[in-house]
Subunit: 336 residues, 2 copies
């Protein structure tokens, strides 16, 4: 068992209260006693036990993070941003993944709450139908959504404007002369973002007087999009451009198209969403609607910490929309 504040006090010849004071507000301890205590701390290799502290103080300076998966770079980057910002602000991070299983969200949050995290950052399948968020609301635990753009204006969130970003991506395609643009998307029910992006697609198509095509919804980015793309072998059956709801999907699609003997972008153009860093290193570069994932994480953490600060709901923007950009890339060709 590691040394406790008690042993330090004994060794330094002071009371535990004084040791505690040195730890928490060093100014309130005389230089002399401080010296003795510090010696004792060093000698014993004392390290404060946060469990004791948290128990007593009722806060833990720890935040919980729930993401769908770390296999998608986007969330890894976001977590990276969260952790970095957390370290700056002296917060610790407990982390959980749900593997896109909506039913695991509640369990994840419950676990975090048992650890008495001061707040939670999460990306849920569907922000407008999430019992998990209701729990958080009820218990009065501050939380910040990432990537989700909730309808309820009351919920703190950090994301890009998914609909607008998708619109801009599709507009980029139309600007290059594409008219037959189809959307390839992950399961709508696993991601409210996918739905918003689909709306953005519709917006853009309508705005340009183009006929929207039925979206192709694939199960998982396991990469098995082939079955859905078979029809593309027939030039009549395929769009000139494929807009994918995320970059991983775009990459999988490109691979499968290649297998079908189709060339990107000669036979079909592909555009993604997310702007994962690797897309920019490939050749051709993957065109994409870029969201600043690491920054999303960083802002989310700062927002959360601010919310933790003020017990009662207060100032500060609620729904934060970060700027997206459109990355031009060789996977999209000029069509005329």
């Amino acid at each position: 068992m590691p040394p406790s504040i008690k042993q330090v006090a004994l060794q330094a010849g002071v009371s535990t209260a004084t040791v505690s004071r040195l730890l928490n507000s060093p100014a309130s301890v005389s230089a002399e006693t401080a010296g003795k205590i510090n010696e004792a701390i060093a000698a014993l290799g004392f390290r404060p036990n946060f469990n004791g502290r948290n128990l007593r103080a009722g806060r833990s300076r720890t935040v919980g993070v729930v993401v769908p998966t770390l296999s998608n770079t986007v969330f890894a980057q976001c977590l990276q941003g969260i952790e970095l910002a957390a370290r700056t602000l002296d917060y610790s991070v407990m982390f959980t993944a749900t593997e896109y299983r909506q039913e695991d969200e509640a369990a994840a949050v419950n676990l975090l709450l048992s650890h008495r995290v001061d707040g939670v950052i999460l990306t849920v399948a569907d922000a407008s139908a999430s019992g998990t968020l209701d729990v958080l609301d009820r218990e009065g635990i501050p939380y910040v959504l990432t990537y989700n753009q909730p309808q309820q204006a009351s919920r703190l969130s950090v994301s890009v404007d998914n609909r607008a970003a998708a619109h801009d991506a599709v507009a980029h395609l139309t600007a290059l002369g594409h008219t037959r643009i189809q959307m390839l998307t992950g399961q709508f029910n696993a991601s409210d973002r996918a739905i918003q992006r689909y709306h953005g697609y519709l917006d853009a198509m309508r705005a340009h007087g183009l006929a929207p095509m039925a979206p192709i919804e694939v199960p998982r980015h396991t990469g098995l999009t082939s079955a859905h793309l078979q029809a593309f072998s027939d030039p009549q059956q395929r769009p000139s451009a494929l807009f994918c709801s995320n970059d991983l999907l775009a990459l999988a699609a490109m691979r499968d198209l290649r297998e079908l003997g189709l060339r990107v972008p000669e036979d079909i153009s592909v555009m993604g969403f997310d702007g994962i860093p690797l897309g920019e290193m490939m050749s051709p570069v993957l065109a994409s609607a870029v969201q600043p994932s690491e920054q999303i994480g960083e802002v989310a953490l700062r927002t959360l910490v601010a919310a933790i600060g003020q017990t009662e709901g207060g100032a500060g923007p609620v729904s934060q929309t970060l700027a997206h950009t459109i990355r031009h890339g060789g996977t999209v060709r000029v069509f005329s």
Copy 2:
């Protein structure tokens, strides 16, 4: 303040001890009282406070994880594997990154230890010269190294055989007829793996009677490898194949080579190390020495939990070497 075991006890008309019992060994409580308590728990929305529990029990069922960065998919995958396995075993995960700053390793571990994690999984810059590991040893906190292959046989670790994997990668190149093979590597002092891989390179070159070339050491995978590759414009000055110490570096190199007007693999072949999933989706496929990152994480966690189980050092393999594979890919051409 959320309800405590005390309020549950009051509401159910039993003692706190009984509530605790229901929580920890339900079998030891009569069905009748169990019913009453469960009702009270539900009514109050009670959730056990792990801080109290941990304080009392002296263990937290929480593990700490320290990785260099999450920007490298490899570590994200590993963390993913850790988290998944942890959830299975009812453990929670606290996570920290060091951004490859060796001096941050100690701080990270100290923080985790203050949280009284039961054990730590980490990837350090240099396992054989890490004060951090010494601290862990001294305090008797179980830990498992990932990716690092420590010299000290006493330290638990999970990795591939870096040297052998690098050897196999280079042997693959020689088998394809390459003789002028050069290594491009990250900073040796930021990664002991890089050194081991370099040794593997040397092994393979010597084994095939080839003259090793001086390794090119680049600062960071910021992607700025260009400066180091300038000389390659001259066909006399460039190797026929470039073996990179990791896939990110390989990708950056390929991009920079392209910028120099060189074609991969026609003008120069490129091989990586790690086997990141995206390498397989690209065209051409990135040839690489593949390590099972998610599995490394999973095995590390199981190993750690086992170590936590037995207070005193015990059975079980210490240095676990998982199998690597060589991924053939279009970034390497047959040279003859």
